[in-house]
């Protein structure tokens, strides 16, 4: 059983997580200036308008930076160390955090092309993660 943390969602972010359960990655996009943003907010950080639309995105990204973490932050990570924590830059612009899954520790590098995938946790809750394009980097 994967007992890693389940996010505590808000009214604003509920749609993001619900879509993740269907294995869809959605981001807020401003209907006025077209800017994508992550994490979810009630306002566009670019033009400060409130007309934001949930928009499906490609899930294609590249590794912007990463760290190999050697100490578990929670007991539930004990069996996972060392694991990769990464900031990935989505094709659409925003950056997200993830753990790179199915990725060899020696293969990870800045610029590595990655694709969204979903990690199943307790209660079948799916958390968006990323893995190398083509797998097994």
């Amino acid at each position: 059983m994967n007992t890693k943390p389940i996010p505590e969602m808000s009214d604003l972010s509920r749609h993001y997580w619900e879509q993740a359960q269907r294995e869809a990655l959605v981001l807020q996009r401003c209907t006025r200036c077209g800017t994508y943003q992550f994490y979810p907010r009630a306002w566009c950080t670019s033009c400060f308008c409130q007309e934001l639309e949930w928009t499906p995105v490609s899930g294609r990204a590249e590794v912007f930076s990463f760290s190999i973490v050697h100490y578990p932050p929670f007991e539930s990570y004990t069996d996972s160390v060392p694991y990769i924590l990464a900031t990935v830059k989505l094709e659409e612009g925003p950056q997200m955090m993830c753990n790179l899954l199915e990725c060899d520790l020696d293969a990870v590098r800045v610029g590595l092309p990655v694709q969204v995938c979903y990690e199943v946790r307790e209660g079948d809750f799916k958390v968006p993660q990323f893995r190398p394009v083509g797998g097994g980097a």
Binding site: V69, P73, G93, P94, M97
Partner: protein, 387 residues
């Protein structure tokens, strides 16, 4: 005669790893009492208070009132300055501004904190909800993994080498060895010791990570006319510049924001408005929760070309006797980081040097210094101080 407010006295508690019998308020009262005496004042003359938040007291609300009540003060101005690592430099300029606004005459600026891993149990931790929702599920808790990613990106963009990052820890340790109160001042370290220490979050090693402890410090800012006749040489504020930005670099959409910190804008503004150049600074006290923070502050503050701070660290002697005296108390890396009062150690050391009380590690003929507080992600406040 100067009419500008100035620092008139200070006291810093030697940091300790043994928190037994200590509380944030007890430390606060002790360092406040000694700083007030150092300024040649009585407690009743203190009519302003600025204080920092504490981990050891559970991040409670109405904290300035709690401190006023505990110390038995009667103030005309008070507040908490809670800008993380940028809090203590933030207190200094706010104290000057309050005096210049006619709000009060003598402001006590103080922080004391207790770090006790046995009793420090936050559930949930005092992080914003957004961090609990989007950071924790990925195993990002605390600061080290984020700074590790920042370090990695700096290496990628500028070719910064592990040895260059390690040099910061090595030279600061030399300073700590001249500071009898530093927690880690008893053993010299070499670059290979840093690189051979445990990898916590690759590429960050144990000896590049700040170590929490118990401690605190206080200083008094007084009206200019008093400062001129006080018992200590007044330490004047020549300028301050502050900046706030992304809570987390993860979501900083534009790449330059990742490896060019908010220090750049603040420092450009600071040197412009004071009319001073970088070479006028006799020392720099720079917030150092991680070695990469020091390197990036050096370059973003304009002491070298952007991206060249690694080479700068290699080419300069960063000790108190060197050509770029940096974190002359040992930095938080070797002095200790007293809970949420880490930035206070840099402010204490700047005041100490400018009052000529640096003892074995006194920077010769120090007249002006740059002080940077804040972990460069989230918040920053830089000062230029002079005697």
């Amino acid at each position: 005669m100067s009419t500008k407010p100035a620092v008139t006295g200070f006291y810093e508690m030697p940091p300790t790893r043994d928190p037994r019998g200590l509380t944030p308020l007890r430390i606060t009262a002790d360092v406040a009492n000694r700083a007030i005496a150092d300024a040649g004042l009585e407690k009743g003359q203190i009519d302003g208070l600025l204080t920092g938040q504490t981990m050891g007291d559970g991040f409670t609300m109405l904290w300035p009132t709690v401190v006023v009540d505990y110390l038995g003060l009667d103030v005309r101005y008070m507040n908490t300055v809670e800008n993380g690592g940028g809090s203590s430099t933030g207190m200094l300029w706010r104290a000057c501004a309050a005096i210049e606004a006619g709000m009060c005459d003598h402001v006590l600026c103080v922080v004391g904190d207790v770090w006790d891993s046995k009793t420090l149990s936050f559930n949930p931790p005092p992080f914003p909800k957004v961090a609990r929702e989007f950071d924790e599920p990925y195993g990002l808790v605390g600061a080290t993994p984020g700074y590790a990613m920042l370090t990695r990106r700096h290496m990628h963009e500028f070719g910064t080498k592990p040895e260059q990052l390690a040099k910061i820890a090595v030279d600061q340790r030399k300073n700590a060895m001249a500071n009898p109160t530093a927690l880690y001042g008893n053993k010299a370290i070499e670059i290979e010791d840093v690189l051979n220490s445990r990898v916590i979050c690759d590429p960050v090693h144990l000896l590049e990570v700040v170590s929490p402890c118990t401690g605190g410090g206080a200083f008094v800012v007084s009206r200019g006319d008093y400062a001129e006749r006080g018992p200590n040489p007044p330490v004047r504020l020549l300028g301050a510049a502050e900046a706030g930005g992304n809570r987390s670099i993860i979501y900083a959409t534009h790449a330059p924001k990742y490896t060019t910190s908010m220090v750049k804008r603040a420092a450009d503004e600071l040197f412009k408005k004071t009319g001073l150049s970088r070479s006028d600074m006799d020392f720099a006290q720079i917030y150092d929760c991680y070695t990469v923070v020091v390197l990036m502050t050096i370059e973003d503050a304009g002491f070298c070309v952007k991206g060249q701070s690694g080479a700068f660290a290699e080419d300069h002697d960063l000790t108190f006797a060197g050509d770029f005296p940096l974190n002359t108390h040992g930095g938080q890396l070797s002095f200790g980081q007293p809970g949420l009062g880490g930035g206070m150690t840099q402010v204490m050391e700047a005041i100490r040097q400018l009052m000529g009380r640096g003892e074995a590690r006194q920077v010769k003929n120090a007249t002006k210094g740059y002080v940077a507080n804040g972990g460069i992600v989230g918040q920053h406040c830089g000062l230029i101080l002079a005697n």
